[in-house]
Each structure stands twice: as structure tokens, then as C-alpha cells.
Assembly symmetry: C2
Homo-oligomer: 349 residues x 2
Amino acid sequence: MEGSNEVEVSTTRAAGIKDVAAAAGVSLGTVSNVLNRPDRVSPNTRSRVEAAIAELGFVRNESARQLRAGRSRVLAYVMLDGRNPFFTDVAAGMEEVAAKEELSLFLCNSANLAERESAYLSQLQQQRVHGVLITPVDPDSPALDELTRRGTPVVLVDRKRQGDNYCSVAVDDVRGGEIAVRHLIEQGHERIAFVGGRLRLGQVRDRREGALRALREAGFGPDHLTDLSTSQQTVEDGSNAGQRLAGLPSAIRPTAAFCTNDLVALGLLRSCATLRMRVPEDLAIVGYDDIEFAAAATVPLTSVRQPRHRLGRTAGELLIQETSDPEHVHQQVTYLPELVVRASTVRAP
Amino acid sequence: MEGSNEVEVSTTRAAGIKDVAAAAGVSLGTVSNVLNRPDRVSPNTRSRVEAAIAELGFVRNESARQLRAGRSRVLAYVMLDGRNPFFTDVAAGMEEVAAKEELSLFLCNSANLAERESAYLSQLQQQRVHGVLITPVDPDSPALDELTRRGTPVVLVDRKRQGDNYCSVAVDDVRGGEIAVRHLIEQGHERIAFVGGRLRLGQVRDRREGALRALREAGFGPDHLTDLSTSQQTVEDGSNAGQRLAGLPSAIRPTAAFCTNDLVALGLLRSCATLRMRVPEDLAIVGYDDIEFAAAATVPLTSVRQPRHRLGRTAGELLIQETSDPEHVHQQVTYLPELVVRASTVRAP
DNA sequence: CTTCGTGGTTGTCACGTTTCAATCAAGGGC
DNA sequence: GCCCTTGATTGAAACGTGACAACCACGAAG
């Protein structure tokens, strides 16, 4: 009359392991065994405990487990730009590994802000996270050393660092620039624009170096590369670069553009339409990353594809290895990029 | 000679609050006070403790805090599609609130998979997360009730649910469909295509209903709306719909299209270029969400803008309120969408 | 009958923090 | 000089779980 058991459940807060033990008429340790080493428990008691768990709706308390274990079962990926599909795809590869290891993967978006990045890193450190995957704003930031010094494994993603104190997974950017520009040269272009972010970014520097190498191989000097540097690497920046490009005297105006990023390339593409420049006839364009939208653009974009999914998966695997193997040796893995040729560089038949 | 103190630090693992206490020559409780109620500690001891903290590189252990507090200081947003910029922008609004409340926001990407979503929800439940923000695969899923039953506050984002058991923040989709189609009618269109996902999605249904309402107001029957339903809502789907549209006999072919999503609209735009249909002369296009790329498309896209950032912020605020106010009453907030007119519906002057 | 082993179960401690009642020292009022 | 107040500091308990040693009952071997 006073209220049935079922109703009580909804008001009771947070059934713990000991409530389960009481309900099943066994000791607390036995419940723990059912959860962690079911084989050590007799089938009879086990089913009784499992029934109690179901009835009470018991849910493990991760905080307590972590506290005991000293470390959590969570991985985190601190990504540079959550709005860039490239990073989301990388994250998908990591999720695969995390799932297999029964870890969860949480995403943190630093949005290219050093301040926000360090706030996240501090939080993750407090959480005693199992490991951190990160595409840092600045790969040489001391904040990363801070983490490793406290024993949290860190793997750099799509970035490298001097020395061998970190595991890292990256793609050969010099090579990427090289194959992009070589392709343009093969299409008959001799004056090429290099459109993209600041040269102090290692990645931009490498891709440019690759471009120069391809030119050199073909017998062209560095003067055949016209720099159109941009502050960020957004669609808008690409569009602006298009204006500047169109403003050059036709005698020295490049006939092809190599962009450091697909967003920039798409912006450039748009401004070509506005300025009545045909792609690829008047200007051939190569992008970088091969994001999904590159193929879907009005003029499908030739782009340098990076193995994003594999990038994420390998990064995850390295991290797992680093946490489990005490004699782990840091590795710097480098993948080769691949050129995907589409209509923005080759006239349709 | 045996190794200086500095070197020792790097090998010692995880300095705890008690190590700090020992180093500072105070009791354990005092250190805790320095961390949580600094005003109760004399300036003298406080600075001594702070020095010890810095020297040992002490980092709070969140697991232990959580265990004691019964609840963590983490919010999570389980988003439907991490690759859609719309959701990232929503998340940015939430981050703002989270930062103000000194909570961290972790992102989980369900990628439209019910299975993955429930795995994340289970993890979050075990973590005793402070609260969950979610754009669910299925708003009526019982998995959500599971969470609330255990006392974890849940706020629905960009989705609604029957009844008033949940806080939710959404945008008036009927209205969105209405203003989009009314705009098209004002431009002189009388036959309109409705291009987008399955009708069993509440959102799609609502937007279609709004479209019908606008037609009705203008004196047109439902036969003036041509359904071009797609399985998903990707760029590819939009492109396919374009093929189907072009295949219709010109007598009944719509002169305008209302898409349930900007990705679909961009795909449709692309196929128009391929099929030599001019936009907006031969086909006017309205998208939905006004993602960044809508304005950057070859023909800038007219789109229904949702207040994404505000959506996220309000959702976060409701969640905070629900966790702090014991007499909290669930609220269903609905915002009004706004039409952003661009070249895809109005011929440039 | 005793001893030993074994599978099953139990009780207790530890993890690192917060909280709160208890203690202590110092200073002010009588 | 004594008591009381106030403010600073301390010590112990508790949060929920996992690990591990101890324990028990039962049957087999000697």
C-alpha cells in the first residue's frame, strides 16, 4: 500500500555496487567479480547478481574505476578546426581504434586558438586521460611537453616535430607539393601561382618546397612560382587571391594555381567564375586535402589526397601502443599523398 | 651527487594533494582549502602551499573530485553529423556557456548511427556526466528516457519531442518552409520542387508543411509542389535529384526548388551547371541552414538561416539551469528562422 | 580420520579528493 | 588573569570501485 517497489526505483538515486550486493544477497566483492572476472563466479550466483543489476538499473561509476585504476578509459583528439571535414575524417579513423580497445574518444575543438587549446589540455590532464591525440596550433608549444612530463602519452597528428620525443603521423607535404606541380607542368603550364597561408607554417613551407622541386626538375627556376600568400586558409581568402591573380599583367600571370587547401581552392574557383576566367582553360587549379566537397564543386577539383582515415587510425594505434608497451619507442610515420585528377586541371573530353 | 631534486621530479609519478601538504608543511585539508576556498586560508600559508603546488607540478585529479561530488564537471554534445558545419556552429555556442560555468564540453559524433549514439550515451552515463546535449538520431528513442531516469539532465537540440518531459531548443521548421516558398512565389514561381530527405523525419515533414501553407496562402493547391524525395541529404543526393528534375516534361517541370538542406541544394546547383540549366533563370534554388559554403558557392545560395550559435547557447543555458535549479520546469524554446536572399533566386542587377 | 587442494566467496584496504566537526592559537573584554 | 570569540588549521570520514589475501566448505587422497 505504501508504494510498490517499481515506483521506489524511480526516486532512488544512483544504485551502487553495494546496493546490488544487498539485493542479490551476496558480498560486495562478488559483484565486482561478476563485473570483471565472470568466470570466477558460479553460474548460479552470477545470474542472481545479473538479475539484481538489471532490476536496480545499476550503472558503473567510471570516476571510481578511474580513481582506482589511476587512469581513465578515455582518449581525446584535440583538433585544429572542427569545421574542416578533413579533421572529422581523421577522427573517424581514430574512433575505429578506440572502439576496438573499448575506449571512448572525445573530441575537442581548439578552433585554431592557442588559448582554447591549452584550456582543453589542462582539462584533459586533470581527467587523467588515457592519451591525447592532437593537431596542435603550434607543434613546438611547450604545453605538449607539460603533458608528457606528467606521463600522458601524446601523439601528433598531421604534424611533425624536431627530435624523436613524440610519436607522430603525418603526410609527406614536400612530396604533395611536388606531385601537384609536376602534374601542372605535364599539362603544359610554366608559370604557377602558389596560393595559401603563411610561410611560417611548416606545412605551407613544405608544400612550397615541393612545388619548387618539381619546377627545378623540369628546368624552371623559382621565378616561375608566384606567391599569393593569405592570412588564413578560408574560402574567402581564396576568393581574394583570385582578385589579385586576375590583376596581374597577362604577360606574367600564372596559368595555373596550386592551393594549400581545398577551401582556398574553392574560393579561387568561385572568383574565377565571377571574373569570367574559365577553369581549366584560363586557369588550372589544384587543391589540397581532397575534402568531399572538392569532387562536388561546380568544376570538380583536382586535389592532393591525404589518407585521412588511415592517418587517424595509425595515430590511434601508436597511442595505444605507447600506453601499453613500457619499452615503447617513439615512431614518426609518414604517408605518401596521392593526386586525384579532375576537371579543374584537365579539359573534359 | 646521487641525482638532484629536479631530476627526481621527472621520474616521480602523479604528485597528489598529500604530497603538496607534506612539501608545504601543512595538513591535507589546508591544501584543499587553498584550492577551493582560498579566502579561508591565511595569506602566509596560502602562498607557501601555492609554491609547493608549482614546484611539484601538482594537477588536480578530476576522478577523485567527481567521485566525491557525485557528478562530473563535463558536458557532452552528441551531435548527429560532425561533418555538417551546422552542428559545429551549434557546438561553438555551447562552448561559450560551458566555459563561463567552468565546465568542459566534449563532442561525440554519432554520425547518424543509432548504435554509435547509444554507445556514447552509455559511456556518458558511466562517466556521470553533468548533462547531455543531444541532437538524436531518433528523438523518440527510449535511450533518452534511460538517461533522465538515472538523473542525468538531457536537452534536445534542433529537435522536439511530444510532451513536456524534456527541455528542447529548436527552430520553427514550418515557418522556415513557409518563408522560403513564399519568397519563391513572390519571384513569380508557381510550380515548386520540394527536394530533400525522407518524410518520416519530423523536420522534413514540417518544412514541407510550411511550403504547402505558403502555396495555399497564394491560392495554389498541393499539386503545385513536386516531391523529389532523397534517401539521405548529401551533395550527391541533391545532384541526383537534379537529374530527375531535368527529366520532367517541361509543361509540368518546376521552375524553382526548395531544398531541405544546403548540401542538397549545392548538389542540385552542381547538376544544373552540368545540365546547362541557368540559376536562377531556369531554376531558382533555396537551401536550408545557410552554412558558410552557401554564400561561397558558384551561384551564391539563397538559404533559410537558423540561429545556430544562439541555438547552442540557449541549449547550454537550459541545461545549466536544469542542473542547478531543483524546481526547474522544462521549456521548449523555438526560434524563428530567417531568409537570406542571394543570387540563386534573384537575378543580379 | 586427517590433510590437502580447490572453486567460490568474503572482508578490507587503497585510490585522491572534499567536507565538516573538532581543535588550536591568539586577541579582546571583563 | 580568565573566559569567550574569532579565525586558521587539522583529522577523519566518505564517495564507489578493484585487488587481493583470507576464509570456508566440500570432496579427494593418503
